[in-house]
Amino acid sequence: MSWHVHEDTIEAYILGRIDDASAFSLEAHLLACASCRAAISTRVEVEGQARIWSGIRESIDRPRVGMIERALIRLGVPAHTARLLVVTPSLRSAWLIGITACLAFAAIVSSAAGETPLPFLMLAPLIPLAGVAAAFGGPVDPAWEIGVASPTGAFRLMLIRAAGVLATSAALAGLATIASPALGWSAAGWLVPSLALTVLTLVLSTVTTSVIHAATIVGIGWVAGVIVLERVASAPLAAFGPTAQLVSAVVAVGSLIALVGRRDAFERPAHL
């Protein structure tokens, strides 16, 4: 650009002693002319410039609070608990998408089979189980190191994250249940077993080397048990009948009591 704003005009603009017409002309020109902008930059040491910059610097260094975290905080969850929940790997979007796909598949297979919702019922309780296992999966967990060094009691941390995972995956499995009316009410039969399996896994993890091992053992045991019961028992879906539900409930309560009893075991680094 060949035309540039006169030095006096720039000076007058900086001091605020300029007529509007000249100011308009200068402002319009500035947007298109780097050298006139530079002329301003070298002339003014705008008051507060450094202060503004340090404010910007501080903001870009601060981690951004995500949508889910903000929603949790708005719902009354304390900020530090919300952060703990959000960094739980099994609550991340990739996991949730995977879970949704699994459930959709199981629901479709069960509906198509037209007889019993066995595949769905067998798979649904395993999902919170896998989620909880991954929440304490050591290397799987990006926040694992932080968790080890956290001043929060490991037991409390475990409960917070397990509750978050259970609630999310149960909600997803619940949606799948509602979304497949062909399965009928029997499709809700996985809820109590699911709770029992998850708590049992946590108890078992106090004696095994990791939560993942415990979850694998419990998961295999569950699948094997369901298949055997289905073969042996006279009625279909024996593993989800009234008696089985009662047994599941007893296991859940028993495991919960055992879990509280063994809470100290969670303070050992191996478990977080």
Binding site: L31, A34, I40, S41, V46, E47, G48, Q49
Partner: protein, 178 residues
Amino acid sequence: MRDLSDREATDEDLIAALCDGDARALRELYERHAPWLVLRLSRRCADPAIVEEVVQDTFLAVWRGAGRYRGQGEVAAWIWGIGIRRLIDRLRRHRVLSIRGDRPDPEPSAEEVVLLGVEHGDLATAMDRLSPELRAVIQATILDGLTTREAGHLLQIPQGTVKTRLMRARRELREALA
């Protein structure tokens, strides 16, 4: 990460570096654009604390939204567009203003009038003869590119008043430049 040291990087280079998360590029953009932005915003808002806050918000928006710069037009104009709208938002948040569902003014022909004036008469003299209220409206709508509603928020007057003042300014300019 682009190397910014070899030559004088253009604003567009710096924006590209921002997309890669280069905070040094933001610093450089800030050095180049903050001074005029502060001055220009200060002519539209008398409270230095608000201007500071708006400039800070603007550069944060540049940092986070660098990917939205489409490479069309000057980077400075893009930054100004963000800055002036942040200022309006900031002014709106702290004052109760009537919110009306009016559509944006469909006739921005004052611009044509002004451009016409550049060719046919002495614009500066004509501008100086306008009352400060009318000049402020011309500034907000034509120079700053705001809609009449946005101009109303900036100048703390109803949108209808912006429209009537704009009309009056246009008439007076036309007479002065004829």
